[in-house]
Amino acid sequence: MKTMKVTFQVNSDKVTLQVKPYETLLETLRERLALTGAKEACGMGSCGACTVVVDGIPMRSCLVLTPEVNGAVITTVEGLKQDDRLHPLQEAFMEKGAVQCGFCTSGMIMTAKALLDRNKKPTKKEIITTISSNICRCTGYKKIVEAVEAAAKRT
């Protein structure tokens, strides 16, 4: 099969890969780059568990084809730690009890990160609206909203 050469940055690494033209970014991250933090929960863009940040924009990696990210800078949940220090969102998710089964957590944190990167002081309503792109089945979202509020105060 014909493959395509794609170069992009993921977290601190620059990678060049030959990929199938229809390979999704989620598959590339999970199966080829061993970055399994992004999860496949629906495979059709309805739940947000696979969210990663592509050039500052939160994207559902199950709906992005890898050839589309040629030249992009991608951040996944594995790339949030800086010099061994957790990102304020990671700290706040732990401290506020925003994590239960954990399957939506990576996507929630990446969605919230993109929000805080573009809006340092979001209102509670803005946080709720933003994370309504992602499904969590365990928490009722209250502690996730509190965690994002707490992280916003720290960044």
Binding site: C42, V77, V99, Q100, T129, K143
Partner: protein, 758 residues
């Protein structure tokens, strides 16, 4: 009871959360092994059909395919939780009974090859007439789904206490209503996945599950392997909610493929397959007849409940009983008759759910409100009057040992100004109250208890080994917290080995709400036994009486003279020198009547204890669209004692989402045997923007047998939140609902019916 606790009762960060916020926590689909194959399953396109022939030859010739199987490669052993419910072969040779049922499977080097190979499997079917509605299914002449069950009645639970007809005849007020509720989707975020690896006669398996020991037993039976050759390993679970309690067809499929190929096999279901072909929730139709005295005392209850059981028995007798029991564990009624029928239909396999019993519980609660109103009482008064208290027996003879029901009713109603608002609902705004009790564990034979091993390592750190399971609710962190309290060692210095059938002993698992009351209790006992050994040596070395030794922050110290102290690691090393390392075991077996049987002997002590709770929902209805919004939701929960209040709140908030808000959005939709909403676009899991403001109130009744007084935490709300919403809608509309969930179309029907009456 000692109340100067060091860490139990504190809002601690869960031990599993670091791995989860960094993306390092491993779930089944994340696993990779050398030479691992990918499996895909061919599913039945028919709701009911005879299998004439399955031909795998062409599929096996596809380059890269390493194994292909059908029911003819298995042993034909049928699974069932009870001897009398063994009817599910999981891969069949005779017929298929629902759309999406597993028929054959392949394992190949990659997903594309596996998909291609599936298209070459040839199955000849002879379609049979099918039946989708339990009422139709019970009629004479309906298609017979299993030959051994007449009229497709899988289970009949008959409970008869006192003299129902006589009491009904003497009652001041009698009312009968029928309620219907659609089954829901578990919709756990992690779709079902399994990795099976068969090497040197040992089968290792990883899959999200609620009870590894029962799973291993089922698989060893179906695969004719000795139990010690089937090892279920620990893996994180992306939610369960009751949907992972039983062995899954995919467990068998992946195992057979791995045995055949001699290589590890991974099977990951799609979201749609997870909905159609893993477990589903029972639809139900409940007829509730109640007799009351003039003062609001319930004198008799008469129930007929029909459960749509799907194609196989599953946890049949339990599923057919639980809605009744969680109700009888909450309210006092001297005369009761319950006829529960679980009926086969040509729909997917079914299981228990967090809010199993929706139509039944919501119906009972809403009917009680209406009857109370007729008698000049309100929901608070009628619940306080009929609610069970500590020391009382339920109708089927379970003793209630600790009970904070009254406190939860009062706390929730005062917080919401309930009485005043219920009495005068403003236009299309209402409040509703739901109460329930939950058994903490139930009879599971010798698997009802739990055991724990603990060893104190040479650096003073601790390893605890238990069969306990965490499906995301925080059970692992909970037992580490308990061990930390007993041993005086920080949580970070305690390692947990759990949910692995080879190294752990039996435990009920994350099933029957037993983790806190049973699993954590065994950990407590084991750690107390280890503590005694530590204290004995420290007492000798420090020259302080044993009773005056305290353990905290990894130190043994004199309570009277705290500067007299030594690290626990020194105590441990001394024990090694003596050739008696500090290891201990502990177990806990709840006080349950093991003569009790779901069908044949439905009476006796159901569980070691019961938790209680009250939820209050506030709803607004849009008269134009029928859409309900929920500004606020309040839940009060007697969980005995919250070991980690932050985790208990999280369970309560999640329950408000999954049972409360779900009452207006969630339900499986069917067109005959086709599930119409198997994905997360069509099936409406509540989002952050759908959630009410939530108040959670924890009531501590301090159970005498629970670990530090703890009981189940959270499921109570998962049961009563649904009733609270239904009752609030009845309050707002002044009409009783008949069908759930309360989607806008149904709400409009209620409003129109109301108008019509006027």
């Amino acid at each position: 009871m000692k109340d100067d606790l060091n860490i139990v009762g504190k809002r601690v960060v869960r031990s599993d959360s670091l791995a989860k916020v960094t993306g390092q926590a491993r779930y089944t689909a994340d696993l990779k092994f050398p030479n691992m194959l990918v499996a895909k399953v061919l599913r039945s396109p028919y709701p009911h059909a005879k299998i004439v022939r399955i031909d795998l030859k062409r599929a096996l010739k596809v380059p890269g395919v390493k194994a292909a199987i059908s029911g003819f490669d298995g042993y034909g052993i049928k699974w069932g939780v009870f001897r009398y419910t063994q009817d599910h072969a999981m891969l069949h040779t005779d017929k298929v009974r629902y759309i999406g049922e597993d028929v054959a499977a392949v394992a190949a080097v990659d997903e594309e090859t596996a998909m291609e190979a599936l298209s070459y499997i040839k199955v000849d079917y002879e379609p049979l007439p099918a039946v989708y509605d339990p009422i139709e299914s019970m009629k004479d002449g309906a298609p017979q789904i299993h030959s051994e069950y007449k009229n497709n009645i899988n289970i009949h639970i008959h409970i008869d206490v006192g003299e129902v007809d006589r009491a009904m005849g003497k009652a001041f007020l009698v009312r009968e209503d029928t309620f219907k509720a659609a089954g829901e989707a578990y919709a756990m975020m992690e779709p079902y996945a399994v990795v099976a690896s068969y090497v040197n006669g040992y089968l290792d398996l990883w899959m999200p599950n609620a009870g590894p020991h029962v799973r291993a037993k089922a698989l060893s039976n179906m695969l004719k392997l000795p139990l010690n050759k089937v090892r279920i390993r620990h893996i994180n679970s992306g939610g369960a909610f009751g949907g992972r309690s039983e062995v899954a067809p995919g467990d068998l499929v992946a195992s057979l493929l791995s045995i055949k190929a001699g290589r590890p096999v991974k099977l990951v279901l799609s979201r749609e397959e997870n909905a159609t072909s893993s477990r589903q929730v029972h639809d139900m139709i409940a007829t509730v007849k109640t007799g009351m005295k003039k003062d609001g005392t319930i004198v008799a209850k008469d129930f007929k409940v029909i459960y749509d059981g799907g194609a196989y028995s599953s946890t049949g007798p339990i599923a057919t009983s639980i809605p009744f029991y969680v109700y009888e564990e909450c309210y006092r009624f001297p005369n009761v008759r319950y006829n529960g029928y679980r009926v086969f239909t040509n729909k997917g396999i079914r299981g228990m759910y967090g809010c199993h019993g929706r139509a039944f519980l919501a119906g009972n609660e809403a009917q009680m409100d209406i009857m109370a109103k007729q008698l000049g009482m309100d929901p608070v008064e009628v619940r306080l009057k009929n609610g069970l208290r500590s020391g009382e027996m339920t109708a089927t003879k379970s003793k209630i040992t600790s009970c904070g029901l009254k406190e939860t009713i009062i706390a929730a109603s005062e917080k919401t100004n309930f009485k005043k608002r219920w009495a005068k609902p403003s236009r299309l705004k209402g409040v509703g109250m739901g109460c329930v009790a939950i058994m903490c564990g139930f009879p599971m034979g010798f698997r009802s208890g739990s055991s724990c091993y603990v060893k104190i390592n040479d650096d003073g750190q601790v390893t605890i080994v238990t069969g306990l399971v965490d499906n995301g609710q925080g059970n692992e962190s909970m037992v580490i917290q308990v061990a930390s309290e007993v041993l005086g060692v920080p949580m970070g210095d305690i390692n947990l080995v759990n949910a692995d059938t080879e190294v752990t002993n039996l435990d009920p698992g994350a099933y029957s709400q037993a983790a806190a009351f049973v699993g954590a209790n065994a950990v407590r006992v084991a750690c107390e036994n280890a503590r005694k050994r530590i204290v004995a040596i420290a007492s000798e070395k420090l020259g302080v009486k044993e009773a005056e030794i305290g353990l905290k922050d990894g130190l043994a110290y004199s309570i009277k003279k705290p500067d007299k102290k030594m690290p626990i690691s020194w105590v441990v090393r001394e024990a090694f020198f003596r050739g008696e390392p500090i290891v201990a075991t502990g177990s806990f077996f709840p006080n349950i009547d093991f003569e009790r049987e779901w069908v044949s002997r439905p009476w006796g002590q159901m569980a070691g204890t019961f938790s209680f709770g009250t939820s209050v929902a506030e709803v607004n209805i849009d008269s134009e669209t029928g859409k309900i919004t929920m500004p606020r939701f309040t839940s009060a929960h007697d969980c005995g004692r919250a070991i980690n209040p932050m985790a208990v709140e999280g369970q309560m908030e999640g329950s408000i989402q999954q049972a409360g808000v779900a009452a207006i959005t969630e339900g499986n939709l069917w067109d005959k045997g086709h599930l119409l909403n198997p994905d997360l676009l069509e099936y409406k899991v509540p989002l952050a923007c759908d959630m009410p403001d939530m108040d959670t109130i924890i009531i501590s009744s301090r159970d005498p047998a629970g670990p530090f007084g703890a009981k189940e935490g959270g499921l109570t709300v998962r049961m009563n939140a649904y009733s609270a919403v239904a009752c609030a809608v009845a309050n707002a509309t002044g009409e009783l609902f008949s069908e759930l969930p309360l989607t806008p179309d149904r709400v409009m029907n209620i409003l129109e019916r109301k108008k019509g009456v006027k």
